[in-house]
Symmetry: C2
Subunit: 714 residues, 2 copies
């Protein structure tokens, strides 16, 4: 039997062909792909030998499979023979050389391939190349097909399922690439046993294979514990292989498998994205990966076809400005075309969502709260109160990031890595990933006694998780979430409650943050804020140092220059300008001493691996404490047009009235009113729990998790 | 006689009205203006009292005149009465209040107005408001007109021409605003004597007035000595007032006045812009001001109408995506519409140009060289070898900036100022403008003995200028310029020669820089490079300091942290990544000792007024010396798509073979060839001067200013 295209039928090809030259998303996708492939085909074919990770050879093999994958489909869709001829020629040259390459020398724990320094990349190669082969096999003689199979595909199948059998059945995002590659190649070469192996595992005992992977990798919410960056990497083989099974193993009913785990996990991934389409860098991750990634394009197309469409998905497609070059993508393209004929498709505005973690959803969660201001600008607040994210996990929980006006405001540093930049250690993770990027001081939270949460101990971190307290997003005037982390510092209970609040007189939602720490004895607390931009003003005097020393000597502090500091009485105000927007932060603690320290990354960075970024930290010393702060978003600055409006904010003060094991009370003062916020600190609280507290002779009572009241300024 | 619109006839208004709702540049301009004005008209009218520079009151008066100016014309063009009614209401309220405001308290040398802290802004107010008034006066009763004239316009005219008469006749960019405002207002209130005063000066003796201004402010090349940022500020009243005279004083024949000085200076301004439309920050200036500024929009429209059009002007209009809402803009809009029906209008690619300085063009020049790579990306090299730029002048000459791939690579810091940011000293110039931004160490050049050129002495700086040596841009394979600065450091002659060279095997033009210093005795030379981005690699070991000290204690050095340093033997290599592009710099000096120091701005900056930016400096000590460097542009990095290609450059070495008073010889080695570059150091050289030099027993001979030869690598 001649090999047929694995993912396309004749009828589907005919429909795709009709999109050539059109201005639809599919038409644009085909045109872009043609332009890219045509440009690459201009270069002489090259099948290089071994090279550095991230170096020319690595990139070239990656480009070869990427463009073979596109060219295979372009041949079918455009009917241009040149695409088939080119794929076949590249395959022939791989067949000449593949077995002449020895395995790479192993440099870390990853097993090596003949083309790449780790088999993960070789899985990718097989995955894409098998699909390409299936598109052009009809143009090859029997002997040609035979030669490709014998000299490339079969040795690879043998390597992945025999030589590296132990890795094949591992439940891990890399494992999905392995099984998808092997399964697809099995179909391409007519050896269905490999498809079976890929789906059910080598031993067919639920410990390996695609079905076990997708059953066990994701939480009930669909969240993937390594975070969106790694999730996005796994989503492509997940969706492509699901589509393969949909067509070639219908008995699995893959899209309904385990209550639609495929759709569920795609939805979870998409719902983490910032309004501009970038993913928050939860765990050590890239700061710039987003929904325009090809894997996410495939996922949105697959989801649209098999799980249904709404305006948020159409908004995603609008940002992507492309679809998967496949019937799934065609369905999305057609829906988009129809929708835009009727109405304007705006940017997506995903609902707020709490994504639980762990196999049963009981290992904490990741919270994503969104609110719009009067101009429909989406504000997003992210808090991590889940579990340690495997090999890529940061060691802390209760960190937040905050996004509005098209930019991350309270920022995550992201990983210490320059991906694919060969002179930077082959693009691999750098030492500073551990010594800075994964440390608590880098993550917009409170560091106790200058040590990292979980003491940077993987085993300890794996054994604990955050405890959700509440996640309330029904009101338009206030949305908030709260969680406990009682096992992350020895002898400490911590609770963080974060809100976005609409207050009369403010132009935008106000971020309110209450961070409570409860332990024995006196300690040092560093409440850090990773911002970007230019300091505009403060309400306290500070000294900029004429010589710089580091902020500390370990746990990330050794990478921070201590640039300036100042004592604060009462509430500290720090205001800065980030691109076009002013931000004013007011923060205080219930301890009566305070100091704000301005820092900048870059110390003890012998190879300039870190980016130079500023932060400020409110430090206080003492016993149990409650930090409270607000962050106001205000005004507008445009350097090019030399415009500046509302450079000063409206909030005058935030004050801790009191806190104990029952609740916390703070007051926010604006020009016109005083807003009192009361929050439950009881882990056992419910929506109806009654709270009665007295601070300074004043009674505070409310029922449920929190309450607000306001009065005019006296 | 009822006041008529000063800049529009009935017939012209009818033509503009036809553009409403169209997708032409004019149609888009009208729509954008309507949207902006409509939004502003939603706010309650407010005529505030005195406030801070850059504060709410300042901004509000500015917005009031900006939107009155637009609304006046929109009334005529759209026939919507609401625009006239609104302008009239605002004018009435100004009439109520203007004379009740006292003059501002004077805080610096600028005289103050009743609305603004300096009369410059009050000139602007009168300029725009008079134009607006002329558009809506037909809708006002005689009594209303009388009241506006008596309570606003006449007191202002009196203030500008009597109270502040000494300032009215000053030849300065602010003076153009003064005369244009007074002249236009004179027309609006039917007092032509004010127009006469504005054109010919108070004393009609060529020392004041618009004609004297435009005769004396610009060099023969059209260059304005304060640089493009200030030029762009003056160009709007220049062009608008020229158009007024064209219509109301045709006897002046303004567009042909002094051989077309108006057109000449517009052309000069536009020809300085970087390929992305931003102006190089020559002298202390904003880094983000560009051709989308409204003043430049007016200038491009006026130029198009009166001096003719080409594809570069159409390319400018494409970047601006708007035109002046005036018949001049309509002409441009129509030309653009016609052109784009035929063909794609690309980004502008201005020819290389040398703009002379000084009243007779003999005070040096500013050089702008442009070259395209294979992908039509425009590379631009700018060298300042002109004169001190008045109040905004930096103190040095021979500084360069370099732009490609859409970004400034060797960067100018720009001014130390946060324009209109009220909490930053009212948006005014900050101390750091003098102590850092205007110092030699900040300007990509060689600082001798850690002192600023001209010792930061204005009088001294005013008395000297650069001496052009050559400016050769005819060849496609090499373009270069060279100049001397022999009076800027006591006892020193300096010569800088910079080239862009196409060399086989390189993907982009190579920047070659030779900086020669000739003086008595031993000195310290700091050859500094203001870059941006992430250091990727070096070819020498360096030490990053665990405590930071400043680079020095004065002349800008006190603002630089000394981050790291390393000794270099021979040629130093520093490679960095700026956004998507890799840059590799190789530099050396003829002295046999060298050290590279990595620095970062931010030291001794007590109010966080400076931006944190990196630089590196090649330091050598000794007698006369020649610094030689190349800067290679290569590769591509995309973090979002995790692509990296050609992270290492092709150039292997640059070496100084020798230099003396006749010439300099350097060799550049790539993977495949050795390129020898020979440059004349004789100030008296011509295109035919013969040079014969011997270094290390090798003869070098060429005729003219420079020569290249190449041979294969041995």
């Amino acid at each position: 039997m001649a090999t047929q295209p694995i993912l396309l039928t004749e009828a589907e090809i005919a429909l795709l062909s009709k999109e050539v030259g059109r201005s639809s998303l599919m038409g644009k996708t085909i045109a872009t792909n043609q332009k890219d492939v045509d440009a690459f085909m201009q270069l002489p074919i090259d099948i290089p030998g071994h090279g550095e990770a991230g170096g020319y050879e690595h990139n070239r093999h990656k480009q070869n499979y990427t463009y073979m994958n596109l060219a295979g489909r372009l041949f079918l869709i455009t009917k241009e023979q040149k695409y088939a001829d080119w794929v076949i020629e590249v395959l022939e040259q791989y067949a000449d050389k593949y077995l002449t390459f020895d395995f790479h020398v192993q440099k870390n724990t990853n097993p090596t391939g003949r083309l790449f320094h780790q088999i993960l990349n070789e899985h990718c190669w097989l995955f894409y190349t098998s699909l390409a082969y299936s598109c052009v096999a009809s143009q090859m003689s029997e002997a040609q097909q035979q030669r490709i199979q014998e000299r490339i595909f079969e040795p690879m199948l043998e390597m992945f399922t025999v030589k590296y059998a132990h890795d094949f059945d591992r439940i891990h995002n890399h494992g999905i690439w392995a099984v998808a590659a092997v399964g697809i190649c099995g179909l391409a070469v007519g050896k269905r046993e490999y498809l079976e192996m890929s789906v059910y595992g080598l031993d067919r005992n639920d410990t390996g294979g695609f079905l076990a992977q997708i059953s066990q990798l994701f939480a009930p919410s669909g969240y993937y514990m390594e975070g969106p960056y790694y999730h996005r990497y796994a989503i492509r083989p997940t969706c492509v292989f699901a589509e393969v099974l949909h067509r070639h193993m219908p008995e699995v009913d893959i899209y309904n498998y385990k209550n639609g785990v495929i759709g569920n996990t795609v939805q979870a991934l998409l719902s983490t994205a910032y309004p501009n389409g970038e993913f928050p860098a939860l765990n050590d991750a890239s700061r710039t990966m987003g929904i325009t990634d090809m894997g996410v394009q495939v996922a949105v197309s697959v989801y649209s076809k098999h799980y249904g469409l709404d305006d948020n998905l159409l908004g995603m497609a609008k940002i992507q400005d492309a679809v998967w070059m496949h019937p799934c993508g065609l369905a999305l393209s057609q829906a988009f075309e129809q929708a835009t004929a009727d109405r304007e498709i705006g940017m997506p505005f995903w609902p707020s969502v709490e994504l639980n973690e762990g196999p049963t959803g009981e290992s904490g969660a990741q919270g994503f709260i969104r609110m719009q201001d009067k101009n429909q600008d989406v504000f997003q607040l992210v808090m991590n109160y889940g579990q340690h994210g495997m090999g890529h996990g940061n060691f802390d929980t209760l960190g937040i990031t905050y996004f509005n006006r098209g930019q991350e405001v309270l920022r995550e540093y992201g990983f210490g890595r320059w991906v694919n930049v060969e002179p930077k250690f082959g693009g691999r993770y750098l030492d500073e990933n551990k010594t800075y990027a994964r440390q608590t001081i880098a993550h917009n939270m409170v560091t106790i006694d200058q040590t990292c949460q979980n003491y940077f101990d993987v085993e300890r971190a794996d054994s604990v998780h955050g405890i959700p307290h509440f996640f309330k997003v029904d009101s338009d005037s206030i949305k908030g979430m709260s969680a406990f982390a009682n096992d992350h510092y020895d002898g400490f209970e911590m609770q963080r409650s974060v809100f976005m609040v609409n207050i009369d007189g403010l132009e935008a939602p106000l971020l309110l943050d209450l961070y409570r720490l409860n332990g024995e004895g006196e300690h040092q607390y560093d409440y850090s804020h990773q911002y970007e931009g230019q300091i505009i003003r403060t309400n306290f005097d500070y000294t900029t140092h004429t010589e710089l020393d580091t902020f500390g000597d370990k746990d990330g502090y050794q990478h921070l220059w201590r640039v300036a500091d100042g004592k604060v009485d009462g509430t500290a105000l720090v205001s800065w300008l980030q691109n076009n927007t002013y931000y004013t932060w007011l923060g205080t603690s219930s301890n009566d001493n305070g100091e704000v320290i301005f820092t900048r990354t870059g110390a003890n960075d012998p190879s300039f691996n870190l980016r130079s970024e500023p932060a400020f930290t409110l430090r206080s010393n003492g016993g149990n404490t409650l930090f409270a702060s607000v962050l106001e978003t205000h005004g507008y600055f445009n350097e090019e047009f030399e415009q500046s409006v509302t450079a000063r904010g409206q909030v005058k003060n935030i004050e801790v009235i009191g806190h104990n094991n029952l609740g916390s009370v703070v007051e926010i003062t604006t020009a016109s009113q005083v807003v009192t916020v009361m929050i439950s600190n009881q882990q056992s609280a419910t929506d109806t729990t009654e709270h009665e507290l007295e601070f300074n002779g004043q009674q505070y009572s409310w029922s449920g998790f929190y309450a607000l009241s306001s009065r005019p300024v006296a």
